[in-house]
Amino acid sequence: MSEAVIHDDHHDHDHKPTGIGRWLFSTNHKDIGTMYMVFALIMFFIGGAMALVIRAELFQPGLQYVDPQFFNSMTTVHALVMIFGAVMPAGVGLANWMIPIMIGAPDMAMPRMNNMSFWILPFAFTLLLSTFFMQGGAPAGGWTMYPPLVLQLGDALPFLIFAVHFLGVSSIMGAINIIATVFNMRAPGMTFMRLPLFVWTWIITAFLLIASMPVLAGAVTMLLTDAYFGTSFFNAAGGGDPVLFQHIFWFFGHPEVYILVLPSFGIISQIIPTFSRKPLFGYASMVYATAAIAFLSFFVWAHHMFTVGMPLTGELFFMYATMSIAVPTGVKIFNWMATMWRGSMTFETPMLFSIGVLFMFSIGGFTGVMMGITPVDFQYHDTYFIVAHFHYVLVPGIIYGIFAGVYYWLPKWTGNMYDEKLGKLHFWTSTISVNVLFFPMHFLGLAGMPRRIPDYNVQFTDWNQVASVGGFAFGLSQLILVWVVIKCVRGGEKATDQVWEGAHGLEWTLSSPPPFHSFTTPPQVTDATAHS
């Protein structure tokens, strides 16, 4: 680092911008990270409310509360809000908060672009959610936007497409920023194999984002021109093919699955060693396994389309490729287990949620392997079995990882310890209710209940009622999280710098809360001070 010290006139180090401008014009990774997290939480509740409309409607057969079109809008927009509004922003928020601190940098590499990545989100979701008030209603053809169904949408179609473009711009800028930050802003001695695993998973996620989001932009652009400019990409009458959309969409869509999950894997790779008071087992194999998962994710997309009518070679290729992802994923699962083996374990809330990820993500992983088998998938396709599968992966897999990260770093962010009793209550109510909510869906799916239909045969009533009870219990449990966070921000037992007895890494060398500009002089990193 040269001393390119410039204009160092009057700043004392913790000089903060004040007022609303601090947030609107921010160039601070922590403030932007906080905005991301708050935004994600709000969207989590909006998306959750939509899920509860679905569960209320499905409490009994027949049509009760909403008409089928609105029901379809609920399933569609619930997915879009949760994926693009809750999980991804929460992941980016954690990256913003933690990556500069973990690698010993003062901020992200491009702080202004960072702010734009965030401020796009509220506007993009205004665009998307405004469609509820339009002629023809909100998007209702499923979040995957398959043509020709999606083309039947009314005025909402261009708003949906532009919202997707807009979110893509945000994601790509965010990903570029993370890559530039990690590759260029690491403190002296912070070599790649000393990076905390959360940072590793995020670099790989960022590469996935840059490679896949533009492909989604291309796919929805073709939808737009098919709808308004006379092209025939997805119209067989003009020589195109509706299945082409599915190929392009899932070329984005499958890496997207790993974009969602890898940051959570990174978080629990930080937490499990801390509360096992042992270094992470197999650090290098974790890095390589993550990279392998990401690489393979580009060659498995058509397992989402086994029933669409593909040549046999295609079905076989995508089946074997899909199966092969279980190998690096298994490496990770066993590494986490081996990390806990004979550790001095304690079970604070972050650890509970991490163990929750380990168990329940694996359930989702196993059902994933089941559906990766082509002939078996013919049976499960578009049933509640797949709904159970991806919700196990997404909720107690990915969202639990985010919860774990929030509890783990909340004392660092606020300087106060959160209420451990309430945290544990949040974990146990969530864990019981999430299983009551999603486990019965396996039975419903195997029995043949199709997804995305507001009505069902009476034989499915019992398990649907159980699932709905679980759904409302899970929704209510999340209010505990809000309570814990507010309580922690307002005060509480002061946190030490290290916060957790077994915590290692640069973030624990800073004060709690950290100074406004994290590291103003680069720390020297050695093996002893690197990751746990």
Binding site: I120, T181, N184, M213, P214, G218, M222, F233, A237, I248
Partner: protein, 297 residues
Amino acid sequence: MSDAHGAYFIPEPSRWPLVGSISLFITFIGGALLLNQSDAGTLVLSIGLLSLAYMFFGWFSDVIKESMAGSYNKQVDISFRWGMSWFIFSEVMFFAAFFGALYYARVLSVPWLGGEGSGLATNQFLWPEFQAVWPLITTPDMTAEGIFTQFTAFKETIPAWGIPAVNTAILLTSGATITFAHWALKKEQRTALCIWLAATVILGAVFVYLQAEEYIHAYNDLSLTLNSGIYGSTFFMLTGFHGFHVTMGAIMILVILLRSMKGHFSAKDHFAFEGVAWYWHFVDVVWLGLFIFVYWI
């Protein structure tokens, strides 16, 4: 403007990111209204595009001022390099989606519609008269008698060795001229720098002009339009997005030219120039892909 923290550069709070988000928001609303045939569409879209231009102008002015004031160190320079490279990679992936659509249609879906492989039943039941050929002049729906056809036939395709070959030569030449400009800049030969940059801009403009001529010819004389089925769709979307990128690239080089004329950049320090040059080469490479796969074979 800038704020230094030890060895690091961190910009002060800035309003441009928010202005940018709002401008894009207005632009998208305008575009969507226009597509929904609302009267307000044009106005809203224009406001959005103007504010977007204002954002670019303001944001880049800040960056240029900081750069000229010497606020940027080596580390900032490297961050910009990482940023620009991966931005270009994201653009590559955007084009990949459209190239993928072209290959999929040519290699898989059109032959299937013609009855090849597992497409026999499709062909027999839907359009038994349909023949799979590329370029696809007669779309499946045109072969069904007495049915309203959604797509329009065209006479012939644009031959590769006419305007497209000339345009290939132009873009390749422009790739050379921008490199000459770079060499001139490295030797601090300002006049040569400006002349070569101007030459590059002119070549870019000529390319876009010829491309526009080609489009007019396709629409008026050949009836080849966006509505000509999958051939017209892939042809115009691929060449159209490429043409748009050439236009953007030419505007970027024009800005670099104007800055060079004002005396910006030094032999050692000129990342803006390099970033734009990288972009120009990217546009060039995409064109080669287009020339080979869209026009030639």
